[in-house]
Symmetry: none
Subunit: 408 residues, 2 copies
C-alpha cells in the first residue's frame, strides 16, 4: 500500500524481504499486488485476495495520517467494526511519554483493530500490526517502515505462519552460473534434465554474458531439499561441466582470481575499449593483490606503442581493433609487468566509431602466456556500457579457460 | 512476471522505472501485480486487469525458454491465436547472423504475436514486445531485461501512450544531482526553499557519494509543470551553485569529460585501490578518447616505481597509502602520458589490510597539473566495492573542482 510506490518514487524492497522470508518457511506466494492509498481499491483487493489465498499479508497504510487507510479497508472488506485495543493505546501513550511529546487524536487511530482481531506489537514505532482470522483466511497488516515491518515479521508473523504450516513444507533454491554458452545452448544441453524436472524445478535465466540456472526444491525438510538440489546440480554439472563457474552470488572475477592464486600465477591487463573495467573487476575481489600487479589502460594508439610496445606498422596495417594488436597488447603488458599472463581487449564500444568493415561492438581479446598468444573475436550488439561489460566477461572467461587447461 | 520475484530473489526495479515514467506522462497507475511463471494465473490476471484498466502493461516472460509464457497468456486471455511476425523472425535471424551463432526453434518462438497485434522492435535483444488493442484496452508486453525494457519504453511505449492521453493532470519531476556536499548540508543550505515547498515538492535523497534533490510538480499542463520546476530549480541553483553537476540520469563522469573536452585538456589516471574504476568511468562516456589517452593500474608497489616513477624511499618512508605517494603517482602518470592533468588514487579498500594507523577505507587522491599537485585525504566507512566507488567519485570531483577554477 502506498501511492509513492505507484508513482515510482521508491522501489518496493519490502516485497522482496517478505517474499524471501515466506519462501524460506515454505509459503507459496502466488500474487503480489501494489495499491495506492485509496480505500475503495484496497477493500476490493483484500476481498479478491481473501477469496483466493490462505494468507493475505498487507504492508503500509497504518500510519496516523488521513492517507493511511489499511485498518479501515480491512474492517470494510470483512464487515467487522474497528475497536480500540487498550494495550495498543497504552503503548502509544508510553511511546510519546518517552519522546516527551503529546500524542494527538490521529495517533490514537493507530490503536484501532477490527473486531475479532489481535494487535501485533510494534517494537520500533507507534503503529501496531493487525492479525485477524476471517472465514478461513488469515489477514495480517504490518507497517510500511522497513525496520518496523522486518522486526514484526521475524518476531510474530513468521513464527505464527510456521506454526500453521501443514506438515512443514519448505522451499530452497540455488543458482548455478554458467559461462561460455548461450541460453538456448544451455537449454539444449540440459534438455533431458529440464524435461523431467518436477521437484526441484529448474529455471534458466539470461544473465549479462552468462546464463543462470535456478534450481528450486519444495520439501518437508531442509535436509531433503538440500539432497534433491544436490542431485539435480550433479546432473547439470554432468552435462555442463566446467561451464558452471559458481553458485548463487558468486562472480566470474572471484572464480578467476581464486584460480590464479591457487595456480600461483600473476596476470597483467592491457585495456583499450574496456578502459579499466577488467582491472576494476579483478580488484573487486579481496586478496587480488596476490595475483594482480596491475595494468595499462591504453586508450590512445600512442599509449599502445609507448607503453605496450605495439608496433606502429602493425597498427597502421591492421588497425587498433584487430587480432594482431590484441595479441601485441597482451604480450606487451605481460612483459611490462613481468607477469605470467597478459590479457588484453581492444574494440569499438560504440555508439559511434564503427565502420562497415569494423562495426560497433566488434572486439578482440588476447591472452599471452609463456608458451603462446591466443586471440578471440567477438561481436556484441549492445549499448556502450553493455559492450564493455561483455568484453570484460569474455576476457575473464578466456583467462579461466586457460587456467582450466592447466589444471585439467 | 517472474517466479524469481515472488521468491524474493530479485527486487522489482522494473516496476519502479515503469511507474515513474508513466507518472511523468500523466498516466495514473492504480494496480501493480506480480505473478510467477504460471500460465493460468497470468491469464486470469490479464483478464482482470483488462476489465478494470485502459492500459495493461506486462514485463517479463518473453524469453525463449518453456518458462516464458507471457505471449501464450495474452493469446489465451484475449482468445487470439499466435501468428509468426515475419519482421521479428528476420530480426532474430539477423541478430544471430551478426553473433555468428545458430538460432534454435526456441528462439523463433519469440517472433510469435497474438493476431491483430504488432511487434515492438527490441533494439537490444532478441525478444520483440507485443502491442495489442483488444476490446478497448491496450495490452503491451515488454521483456524483463531492464536495458531492453527501458529502451522499448522510451522509444515506443511512452510516445504511443502520450499520444493517447486525454487532457488532465500530469506529474513531472526532475532530479538535481549534487556533488561535494553531504545530505544534511544540502538540507541546511536549501532550508528556506524546502520549508516553503508545496507544488513542486522537493525530496532530498542520499546517493552514492552525492546527494539527489527530486523536484516534483503536479499541474494541468506540461508547460506549467516545466515552468514551476524551472523556478524551483533556479532557487536551488542560487544556493547550491556549482555543486549541482547534472540533472536526471546525468553522471559525474559525463560532466567531467565534457568539461575536459571544452577546456581542451587531457587527463591520465594512476590507480591503485580503485584498480581501473576511474578509467572505466571516464571511458563509459562516449567521446572520452578526445580527453583520455589512458592510465596505469599500479596495484603493486613495483608498478608504482617502475611505471610511475614513484621513489622507493618515498614508499618506504610514508607507505603506499599516503599523500606523498598519491602526489607522486599523479605527477608520474601525467608525465608518462604527456597529459595536461594526472589524477591518482591510493588507499585501503578493505575488508582486510587495515592497521591502527592506516585503517580500512583510508584513501588519498592526487591531482597533478602543469602548475601544482594537490592531494586529498578521505576515510570511507563502507564495504570494498563502495569504498572503491566513493574513491572514484572523490577523484572525479577533485578534477571537476580544478576545471571549475579554470573557467571561473
Amino acid at each position: 500500500m502506498g501511492t509513492e510506490l505507484l508513482l515510482g518514487q521508491i522501489t518496493d524492497t519490502n516485497a522482496t524481504f517478505i517474499c524471501r522470508e515466506l519462501a524460506a518457511i515454505g509459503v507459496d506466494v502466488y500474487f503480489r499486488t501494489t495499491l495506492g492509498d485509496n480505500l475503495g481499491r484496497i477493500v476490493e483487493a483484500i476481498r479478491l485476495a481473501a477469496a483466493r489465498s490462505d494468507v493475505v499479508l498487507l504492508t503500509g497504510g497504518l500510519g496516523p495520517t488521513p492517507d493511511d487507510v489499511t485498518r479501515e479497508a480491512i474492517a470494510e472488506a470483512t464487515g467487522r467494526p474497528l475497536r480500540e485495543d487498550p494495550a495498543s493505546r497504552r503503548a502509544i501513550e508510553e511511546y510519546f511519554r518517552k519522546l516527551e511529546r503529546e500524542p494527538t487524536a490521529a495517533n490514537f487511530k493507530q490503536a484501532l483493530i477490527p473486531e475479532g482481531g489481535r494487535a501485533i506489537p510494534n517494537g520500533a514505532g507507534t503503529a501496531p500490526g493487525v492479525f485477524l482470522e476471517h472465514e478461513g483466511t488469515v489477514i495480517i497488516a504490518l507497517p510500511g517502515v522497513p525496520r518496523e515491518m522486518e522486526q514484526m515479521m521475524r518476531r510474530f508473523v513468521l513464527p505464527e505462519l510456521r506454526a500453521r504450516r501443514p506438515e512443514g513444507l519448505i522451499i530452497k533454491s540455488r543458482v548455478l552460473r554458467v559461462i561460455g554458452l548461450g541460453e538456448s545452448n544451455v537449454v539444449k544441453m540440459a534438455e533431458e534434465i529440464l524435461a523431467r524436472q518436477t521437484n526441484p524445478t529448474i529455471a534458466p535465466l539470461a544473465g549479462r554474458g552468462e546464463v543462470l540456472l535456478r534450481i528450486t526444491a519444495k520439501c518437508s525438510s531442509e535436509q531433503e531439499a538440500d539432497e534433491r538440489i544436490a542431485e539435480t546440480e550433479a546432473q547439470l554439472r554432468q552435462v555442463l561441466g566446467e561451464h558452471i563457474y559458481g553458485v548463487d552470488q558468486a562472480t566470474l572475477e572471484e572464480d578467476v582470481v581464486g584460480r590464479l592464486i591457487r595456480a600461483g600465477k600473476t596476470i597483467a591487463v592491457a585495456e583499450s575499449c574496456t578502459g579499466g573495467l577488467i582491472g576494476n573487476r579483478i580488484t573487486n575481489v579481496s586478496g587480488s593483490s596476490r595475483c594482480f600487479p596491475g595494468g595499462v589502460v591504453a586508450y590512445a594508439n600512442e599509449a599502445k606503442m609507448a607503453l605496450l610496445g605495439v608496433d606502429q606498422d602493425l597498427l597502421a596495417k591492421h588497425g587498433a581493433v584487430s587480432a594482431e594488436v590484441a595479441a601485441a597488447m597482451a604480450t606487451g603488458v605481460r612483459e611490462l609487468f613481468r607477469a605470467d599472463l597478459g590479457v588484453s581487449a581492444t574494440g569499438i564500444a560504440g555508439p559511434t566509431g564503427g565502420t562497415a568493415e569494423k562495426p560497433v561492438g566488434l572486439v578482440f581479446i588476447g591472452l599471452a602466456t609463456a608458451e603462446s598468444v591466443v586471440t578471440e573475436r567477438h561481436h556484441f550488439l549492445r549499448d556502450r556500457l553493455d559492450n564493455k561489460f561483455r568484453t570484460s566477461q569474455a576476457a575473464l572467461a578466456l583467462v579461466r579457460s586457460y587456467l582450466l587447461g592447466l589444471s585439467g
